[in-house]
């Protein structure tokens, strides 16, 4: 049964109830399901809606008691200010623009590097036999449970000693080392789900393992590779603690660090701050909504066994 029909069913039953007949057990059940879904959606989306609502209000509309649940009056002022149209808030415009570019470069490059390294490694783990395979595999996956604590200070000192603090390279290398175990886990599980007969046909034709990987496995494994790539990108975009210590100015600071800094200033109006938040969340938000089936696949990789 579909939600539309269910809703219609609820309406009829409610109408009947009002007309004097008591609700049936089925009505209660259906109404319960609809209410549950509404509660889940409210819980999941209300904060996001609230940021949008505030960012589309004027300051006096947002600072009101009681709060307005719709932007009143509806205004594009905060976005005009953030984008630097009209002069006001042009400092914010420069910061947001540049930090978005930094976020895109850092999480994009980390995604490409992570997936490239992980595809070859996961293929070796899934298909080839060699000494120390199990030891290396388990040690790599064990770092999944290693908290950021364990590596934070040494990584900072390594980057400082190499003169890499406040460079894209430091951020990209640290992200990649952090995302590799998860990417390998996702790809390893995906490669294992591909029947071996596919490559065997290629081997009969005289292909080398690398050729089989590039010509047979990679094309078939595209959804798994997409899942690993998307999750690496989202994780990169969301990073805060590592860039907080590894980047020191606008030449490399990602948008998360800038939004936190604007929040800390305590003088930036909430309408503007929520506008910056919406902009910082827009790219991962769109990626999550459009490509969610890959994300679900990556999230559940290997968890059901």
């Amino acid at each position: 049964m579909t939600t539309g029909e269910q809703t219609a069913g609820v309406m009829t039953q409610v109408a009947q109830g009002l007309a004097g007949r008591g609700p049936t057990r089925r009505t209660v059940k259906v109404a319960g399901r609809v209410i549950t879904l509404v509660v889940i959606l409210l819980w999941s989306l209300f904060p996001v809606y609230w940021a949008l609502n505030t960012s589309l209000s004027t300051l006096s509309g947002a600072d009101s008691k009681p709060a307005h649940y719709l932007p009143s009056p509806l205004s594009g002022t905060s976005y005009r200010d953030i984008l630097g149209i009209g002069g006001a808030g042009s400092g914010v415009a420069t910061q947001i623009g540049r930090s978005l570019l930094n976020s895109a470069i850092e999480s994009g490059a980390a995604m490409i590097l992570t997936v490239t390294i992980a595809v070859f490694a996961a293929y070796a783990f899934a298909r080839l036999n060699f000494k120390f395979k199990r030891t290396i595999f388990v040690s790599v996956l064990a770092t999944l449970l290693l908290p950021a604590y364990a590596t934070l200070i040494p990584l900072y000192r390594i980057m400082a000693s190499l003169g890499l603090v406040n460079t894209y390279l430091a951020v990209i290398l640290v992200y990649t080392s952090g995302f590799l175990p998860l990417a390998i886990w996702i790809l390893y599980n995906y490669f294992n789900s591909i029947p071996r007969e596919l490559e065997e046909a290629a081997f009969v034709d005289g292909a080398t393992p690398v050729r089989a990987l590039v010509r047979v496995i990679i094309p078939v494994a595209r959804p798994g590779i997409a899942a690993a790539a998307i999750i690496a990108f989202l994780l990169g975009w969301a990073q805060f603690l590592f860039p907080l210590i590894l980047t020191t100015d606008l030449s490399t600071q990602p948008v998360t660090v800038i939004v936190a800094a604007l929040n800390e200033q305590r003088i930036v109006p909430f309408t503007l701050l929520m506008g910056c938040g919406v902009i910082a969340a827009a790219i991962p938000g769109i990626v999550a909504l459009v490509l969610n089936r890959y994300i679900v696949q990556g999230m559940t990789a290997g968890s059901i066994k």
Binding site: A51, T54, I158, S177, A260, V296, I304
Partner: protein, 294 residues
């Protein structure tokens, strides 16, 4: 080089970038933390010397640090319990097919995909004492008499409200993992239980629960590691004040604000060990229980 030899070397060639990355940027730093925790390391105030347990003793004498340990314990308990219960509830609600389920699922995942810092900034506005919507909504519903200052006054309220922001972010992960586990259960089992007269509660306890145990273990360990590591939400919603601070926040403060690296290393080592022990304990618990029931 013969092709046989090239074949033998191939796995190591394919793995070498991975081994270099994980070795240099995960294993070496972890080993470094383990060693340096026993040294006095202050970059602006040399020399670096061996102090034995000196860093650890200083940490436990510092009330701000002990506060952060107790807070972190509360973050973990609230985070694990809420995210696993809410995740299970969401998974059960999303398990049956209905029109728009795909869209609902995509929307439910959204909080997981957004940066925690941005989410914390949004919740900070929701919790705002003067114009926050939480005050406004609770006031309109006559649940509170006047507007409250939610954060920074009462310690436990602050910790719970901050953890709710993290739970909001990590619950989708639990929901998706548990949902996948629920969907892999054969409908025949439920049908058989129904024929035997089992109600929905009974079939959940007797069929679903034992079969989703591995998924619950994954969610528990994930929530455990994430809440032990809580930083972004605390940094935004609590600042560096001791009241609601977490161990990760104190590690940051000790190291990068007070520039006492040795102290930061010691804290890192302790929390890393705690994470490893607690995750293994959680996995062992789930594993033993599922052995017992099968």
């Amino acid at each position: 080089m013969s092709s046989a030899r090239r074949g033998r070397l191939l796995p190591y060639i394919l793995l070498s970038p991975l081994v270099v990355f994980i070795g240099a940027l995960s294993f070496v730093p972890t080993a470094d933390t383990t060693v340096e925790a026993f040294f006095r390391v202050m970059p602006l105030n040399p020399p670096t010397q061996f102090t034995g347990l000196g860093n650890f003793r200083a940490l436990f004498a510092n009330p701000a640090i002990t506060t952060s340990w107790v807070n972190t314990a509360v973050y973990v308990v609230v985070g694990v319990v809420l995210s696993v219960i809410l995740g299970t509830a969401m998974a059960l609600a999303l398990r049956q097919k209905f029109r728009f389920r795909g869209i609902v699922l995509a929307l439910v995942i959204l909080p997981w995909a957004l940066p925690a810092v941005v989410e914390a900034v949004i919740w900070n506005w929701i919790y705002n004492p003067t114009f926050g919507v939480m005050n406004s909504a609770l006031h309109s519903a006559h649940l509170i008499g006047g507007y409250h200052v939610w954060l920074g006054l009462d310690r436990w309220l602050t910790v719970v409200l901050i953890e709710i922001v993290q739970v909001w972010q990590i619950t989708p992960l639990s929901a998706v993992v548990i949902l996948a586990a629920l969907q892999s259960i054969s409908p025949d089992l439920y049908e058989a239980a129904r024929v035997d007269g089992a109600g929905p509660v009974q079939s959940f306890v007797r069929i679903s629960l034992p079969l989703i145990r591995p998924a619950l273990a994954v969610c528990t360990v994930e929530a455990l590691v994430l809440s032990l590591n809580i930083f972004d939400q605390v940094y935004i919603l609590n600042g560096i004040a001791p009241l609601g601070s977490s161990v990760m926040l104190q590690t940051y403060v000790q190291t990068f604000e007070d520039l006492n690296f040795g102290s930061g290393y010691a804290l890192s080592l302790l929390i890393t060990l705690a994470t490893a022990l607690l995750s293994m304990a959680a996995l062992a618990l789930f594993y033993r229980r599922s052995e017992a029931t099968s």
